[in-house]
Symmetry: C2
Subunit: 333 residues, 2 copies
Amino acid sequence: MKSSRYDVVGIGNAIVDVIARAEDDFLVRHGMHKGGMALIDEPRAQAIYAAMGPATEISGGSGANTIVGAASLGARAAFIGKVKDDELGRAFAHDIRAAGVAFDTKPAADGPSTARCYIMVTPDGERTMNTFLGAAQNLTPADIADDLIASSAITYLEGYLWDPPQAKEAFRKAAKIAHGAARLVALTLSDAFCVGRYRAEFVELIRGGTVDIVFANESELRSLYETADFDTGVSALRQDARLAVVTRSEKGCVVVSKDAVAAVPAAPIERLVDATGAGDLFAAGFLVGHSRGKDHRTSALLGALVAAEAIQHLGARPQTPLNALAEENGFKL
Amino acid sequence: MKSSRYDVVGIGNAIVDVIARAEDDFLVRHGMHKGGMALIDEPRAQAIYAAMGPATEISGGSGANTIVGAASLGARAAFIGKVKDDELGRAFAHDIRAAGVAFDTKPAADGPSTARCYIMVTPDGERTMNTFLGAAQNLTPADIADDLIASSAITYLEGYLWDPPQAKEAFRKAAKIAHGAARLVALTLSDAFCVGRYRAEFVELIRGGTVDIVFANESELRSLYETADFDTGVSALRQDARLAVVTRSEKGCVVVSKDAVAAVPAAPIERLVDATGAGDLFAAGFLVGHSRGKDHRTSALLGALVAAEAIQHLGARPQTPLNALAEENGFKL
């Protein structure tokens, strides 16, 4: 195997988060499912924005957050995703590059504006997301740079890519190139509602070996196997996946492999400020640990550590250098 | 005197803050004066943005921050300032309106983009600002709504308005209307370098009675009277101003009136995260206290309380309802 140019390349929706605090009754009044991600069209986006409180704009996107986290941990990282050449698109590109991530996807010159995710953070720190996909809908297989995928140790894909019409083809193309170059493919299931929309395809991706490593949280796992019972879900996942991690918020996570199901604790936090990005950053830590040859438990502990950083401030991107944080906590990467 | 429609109307540069963390050597390398505000042109703005780290966009502007703080304290508040009709301009308008502030200044249809302030926050929590004035340069006397000024108990003006070419005329027009309606005019000196640029005019505004209440910090006071000695500055200010407050960071503030010079302590904080907006929010608290007939000491304590909230998170706009904060701390507004 040739040595890799990147430790990890992510493919995902390129999104700017528009974050505001909101009370629970705001969610009810606007028909939002707490903790979930809803796709919205432009008129709904305008209506939500008009109703929501003063906001902060921070680059986001699930896969992009993971890749930025990986870069902050010291990984060589790249990202593929579609913005428009507008103010928010330029902000997205600036932020991800300033985080040390290679990002060369050509921005759309026309069509819908850069994707935005309107995030309501309730007093309990939970986040409820409303995504206007905009320019992210125009990611196509042509945006997948063969050379980049073939030279990355891990290609990381978000389940949300099933929403834009042509992105799943980009996803399949990337997975094929990666495996053709004897590289690994990882997938996050993204969101329980997303799993509900594409259940059969996701099961097929995992069972058929299109993906090697799967990330899910409890509700995504339950949705995937249509079961209320966690252990039933874990058993099914163990049958289907080569390696999977199921995150359980403050209860830590479970690493599911053919030879074992191992529980790993969460990292302690002082105060939950905004849960946005917890899963994204967990994946960053796990993937970097895995790519450095750490055992599953160590990788999961690193994931838990950087997820804990993410949920103690507003926004999903790290606000402190994660390599230093990891070192302070005894990780040797 | 007719009852007022607003407790306070602010006039200032309408700016979106682009905030990133930076090390001290970044400031040195890019020739920035730590703790100060520098005016920059578009090429310099692009160069700074390209060099700076991942950023967060939050609506800002000194006067606008003060007005949003006043609204959060329960005051009836309005703002006058110029944005362009672009993405950041729409974000500014959304955020200030969502904070409960009346904002009806017509956005510019063309010309330079909405103003941006590139803010570097160093590890000590200090902020260093670089402002591209953009559309804010096009504020003119025509933007001053006579009726709005005449019906506001206090008109609050930022010294930064001396930078855009026609805004000082808007400022003078507003002060004249306010006094013609027997209302109060307040001014913040904004920044020591700004005072350096317009010293003679600022002294004339204060001495000549164009402004009734003056806000300054220590370095602005020293710059105003070209003295290294704090007490000399305070004596000169007492001579010139009807009422003034000089803020001194963790040392609290000094309320300077004809009959007394009274020191008031700062409010305790857990951790200084980002000093951006400390002075702006102090002014909000003081003005709201003053407009509710509180004594100077109580008004200054309220200013100190809300300034302490502002410096414990990133960005200058309050992240918690200030009226509730004031109530919890025993203020009856």
